[in-house]
C-alpha cells in the first residue's frame, strides 16, 4: 500500500509515493539521499535525527514520512545558505563543539530551534534545551560554548 506525499525539503519540492511505514528519517536519508540526518537509537532518545518540520525541531525518527505530507522540512543540509555557514555551524567549529560529528547535525538543528525561541539563553537554559540530544564524545562543554557563540553572533 503506497501513499503519495508532497514535501518541501530545504526549499526544494518533492513528490513521492511511499510505503506508510517508512520513517521520515529514512525517507530523507534513503529516498532523498540527504544523509546528514542520522539514526542513533530506536527509542526517540538520542536526537541525532532532529530536523525542522514547519519551523519546529522534531525527531524525524518519530514520524512516518506520510505524516510529513504538505510540510516544509529543513535538514542540516539546508542550514548553510549560499555558501554562508549558519552561526551555529560556525560556532560548533570555532568552539570545538564536535568530535566524531555523528550527533552534530541533530544537535545543530535542536540548537537552532532553541535560539529561535530564546535568543540569549543562559548556560542552564542551553543545557536543559538539549535534553533531547545525546553526545557521547564532547561532554557537552563545548556544545554549550558553541550555542553561546551563535547567540552572541545573533
Amino acid at each position: 500500500m503506497r501513499y503519495n506525499i508532497k514535501v518541501n525539503v530545504n526549499g526544494k519540492p518533492h513528490d513521492d509515493s511511499v510505503n506508510p511505514r517508512v520513517l521520515l528519517v529514512d525517507y530523507i536519508r534513503e529516498k532523498l539521499g540527504l544523509t546528514g540526518t542520522h539514526v542513533g537509537c530506536d527509542t526517540s532518545s538520542c536526537g541525532a535525527c532532529t530536523v525542522h518540520v514547519d519551523g519546529k525541531a522534531v525527531k524525524s525518527c518519530t514520524m512516518f514520512s506520510v505524516q510529513a505530507d504538505g510540510t516544509d522540512i529543513t535538514t542540516i543540509e539546508g542550514m548553510c545558505q549560499n555558501g554562508k555557514l549558519h552561526p551555529l555551524q560556525e560556532g560548533f567549529k570555532e568552539e570545538h563543539g564536535l568530535q566524531c560529528g555523528f550527533c552534530t547535525p541533530g544537535m545543530i538543528m535542536a540548537c537552532a530551534d532553541l535560539l529561535e525561541n530564546n535568543s540569549n539563553p543562559s548556560e542552564n537554559e542551553i543545557r536543559h534545551g538539549l535534553e533531547g540530544n545525546f553526545c557521547r564524545c564532547t561532554g557537552y562543554h563545548n556544545i554549550v560554548k558553541a550555542v553561546q557563540y551563535a547567540a552572541k553572533k545573533g
Binding site: 510505503n19 511505514r21 517508512v22 536519508r29 540527504l34 544523509t35 546528514g36 540526518t37 542520522h38 539514526v39 542513533g40 537509537c41 530506536d42 527509542t43 532518545s45 538520542c46 541525532a48 535538514t75 542540516i76 543540509e77 542550514m79 548553510c80 555557514l85 555551524q89 560548533f92 567549529k93 570555532e94 570545538h96 564536535l98 568530535q99 566524531c100 560529528g101 555523528f102 550527533c103 552534530t104 547535525p105 545543530i108 548556560e123 542552564n124 542551553i126 543545557r127 536543559h128 538539549l130 535534553e131 540530544n133 545525546f134 553526545c135 557521547r136 564524545c137 564532547t138 561532554g139 557537552y140 562543554h141 563545548n142 556544545i143 554549550v144
Partner: protein, 793 residues
Amino acid sequence: MGNLIGKSVKRVEDNRFIKGEGKYTDDFNMVNQTFAVYVRSPHAHANINSVDVSAAEAMNGVVKVFTGKDIADAGIVGSICGWQVDFKNGDTMKEPGHPILAADKVRHVGDPVAMVIAEDKYTAKDAAEAVLVDYEVLDAIVDPKAAAQDGAPQVHDDVPNNTIFEWELGDKAATDAAFENAHHVTELSYHNQKLVPNAIEPRAALAHYDANEEKYTLYTTSQNPHLARLIIGAFVLSIPEHKLRVISPDVGGGFGSKIFVYNDECGVLWASKQIGRPVKWTADRSEAFITDCHGRDHVTDAKMAFDADGNITGMRTKTFAAMGAYLSNFSTCVPTYLHGTLMQGLYTTPAVHVDVTAVVTNTVPVDAYRGAGRPEATYGIERLMDTAAREMGMDPTELRRKNFIPAFDGVNEPGYQTQVALQYDSGNYEANMDKALKVADYESLKAERDKAKAEGRLVGIGFSTYIEACGIAPSAVVGSLGARVGLYDAASIRVHPTGKVTAHVGAHSHGQGHETTFAQVIADAFGIGMDDVNIVHGDTENVPFGMGTYGSRSLAVCGSAIMRSVDKVKEKGARIAAHKLECSPDDLEFANGSWTVKGTDKSVGFGDVALTAYVPHDYPADEEPGLDFASFYDPANFVYPFGTHICVVEVDKETGEVKVVKYVAVDDPGIVINPMIVDGQVHGGVAQGIGQALFEGAAYDSDGQLLNGSMLDYTMPRADNFPMFETDRTETPCPHNPLGVKGIGEAGTIGSTPAVVNAVMDALSDYGVKDLQMPLTPNRVWDAINSNGNGNA
C-alpha cells in the same frame, strides 16, 4: 621548529561534519545491494533444537537465509581472541570458539542464530520474525564471581568452572608480609559494573565481492581497518590479504567498542560472496545494546596496607573479570596487562600483588571500553586512598603527597620501575597535584564544604591522582605477554612536486581530530601551512599497515611514525638542498621552511627542494628522484600520562540525587600539540567517567536478561547532568618518542570515576557510609542515608 605546535588550530574535518557531509558507513550504498538482519537469541542460555527458515525464505523479496549449519559446513568459525593469557600454573588459556552463527547453543541474549538477506531492510526485518527457532532454555550465569564457583551453569563445555585463566602479577610473599605487619589496612569490595559504550553511531557494514577480481571490499565502522583485514582475512574467512580491502570511512565514535572484529561484519562479508551481491547491515540501538562489546564488569576485593606514618606498604587486589559469553579480540589483556600492571598507581608502594580470574558468563562479551583496565585499577587505588585518609584522619592530599613517587624525567633521572612490570617514563606527580589544588583553590573548597555541612547541606570533595599506561605498545614486550599482534604504527609522507604533502596514516580518527593534529605536526616540521598538508586514513588499499586508534596511542605511536617519515624527508631534502647550494648537508640548518647554509643567507626552500626531487635535472648523483617515505614506529615503552582530578558534589538529602557542582582536571599528557583537542578529549572522558559513577550500568536479571537494553532505561548522561569542566595541565615530556607526547583520550575517564565516588563518600561521611555500589543512583544514595551507614546498598 615552526609555529603550530601548541596551537589550538580549528579542525579541518569539521568543515564536512557541520554541514552533514560526513560519510559514515550507513551512508554508503552499492548498486544491487541487499540488506541483512540477524535473528538473535532472546534467551541468555539455551540449546538450539532446530532452526526453520522455510517460511522466511519463501517470503517475497527474501534472497537467502543462512544458519549456523551453513557457517559450520563452510568450515568457518568466527572472530578470534588476539591475546593469549595462560594460567599462572602454566596451563594454556581456554579458548572457546565463537561461531558467526550459533549452531548448537546460544550463550547470551543477542547471540545470532540466522542471517536473513533480502532486497530491502523492511522485508529482511519481516522475514527475520518468520524464522522459527526451537530453543531449550537453560539456567544462566551472570555474576562473574559466582561463575567461577562449583555448580554454576557452564557456559562452554570446554571451559571448566567457566574459567578462561587464572593470572597473577607481583610479589605475593612480600605483599602477604606487608599486610601481616600493617599498622592499618583499608579494604573495599565492589563491582566495577558492566557498561554499554553506546557510541551514537551504531555499528554497520557494507560488503561486496567482486567475482572478476576475486576481491572483497568491506566498509565497516572500525577503529582499525588493517587489524580488521588481518583478522578477517587470515583468521576468520581465509581470504588472501591482498584480496580484501577494508575501508573505515567517517566513524561516529568508538570508545573501544569498534576496535573488535565482530562476527556481524564477518557474516555479511562471507554472505556477499555466497549470494553474489553486496550485503548491507546496520545495527538498531537495541541490537547494539546486546552485541557491542561491553566494558568493565570486574568483581574486586581491594586492600591497601599502611604503616603508622601513612606510608603505603602493600597493595593487593583479587578480581573476577567477566569476559562475557565469548572471548572478544582483546578481552583477555584488559584485566591483566592493562590493569594489573597499573596496580601500583603513582605511589612508592613496595609490595603489590594482583590476582585475576577471567570467567565466561551468559552476557554480552566484554572488551576494552575507554580506559580498558586502567579505570578499574585506578578506581581501586584511588577509592582506597580517600577512604584510608578518612579512616586514618589524614587529609587525602597529604596522604597522597607522602606516597608520591618523586619527580623523574626519564632522561637525567631514570624511568621508574614499578613492582608490576612497567617502567614509568617520566612524571612529576606532586607538582601536578599542587597545580590542581591551586586551580581548584582547595583551601576555599574545604571551607565551603565545611560551612555547607554545618548548615546541613551534604557537600563533598573527592580526589583522584591517577597514572595510566597507554600509547600501546612495544611489540616484543606485548608479544612476550601473549599478544598475537604487534602494536606499532605507520605513516607515509608523500611530498608532491609542488611542495604540498599527503600523509597516509595507520591511525584512524573517529573523533580525535587527526586530520588536524597530524597536519599540524607535519606542517610545523616542514615550515609549510596547514593548508599544504592533507591526511589520509581508513582505507587499507592505500594506507600502510597501522594498528589503528584506541588505547590513547595515535599521537604517541602513529605520530612518532610520522616524525620518522618527516626526518627521512628532511634528511634527503638536506642532501638535495646541499647539492643546490653546493655545500655539504652538515653545513645546513633547517628553519622556517628553508635549508640555509649556516652563517650565511644562502638558502633554498622546501618547495624548491620538492620540485627538484621530481624534476631532477641538476641533482645529486646516486640519489633517487622523489620525496616519499613510509615509516613504522614500534614504541620503546608505553607512555604514562597522569593527573589530578578534584570533584565537588552536593547530595540532595531528600532525594539522594547527586549533583556535580565543580570538576577540576589537571592532566599531564606530555607535550601538547593542540590544546583545544586535548581539552575536548578530557571533557568527553570525564563525562563518561562521571557516567559510570552516577548513571550507567548494564542491569541483568538472574535469567541473563538485560533489563535496561535501551536508551529509555540505560541512563546516558545529558547536557544538564554536567557543569562546565575546568581543565588545566602540566607538561612533563615523554623521554622516548620524538614529539615528547603521551596520550589523553582515556585519561579523563580513568581519573574521574573514583574522584566522583570519593566526593559522594565525603558528602555522606557523617552518615558513616564507607562505600556504595556504582552507579550512585538517587535511590541508592537515599537508601544509604536512611540506613545510617548500614551498608553497601
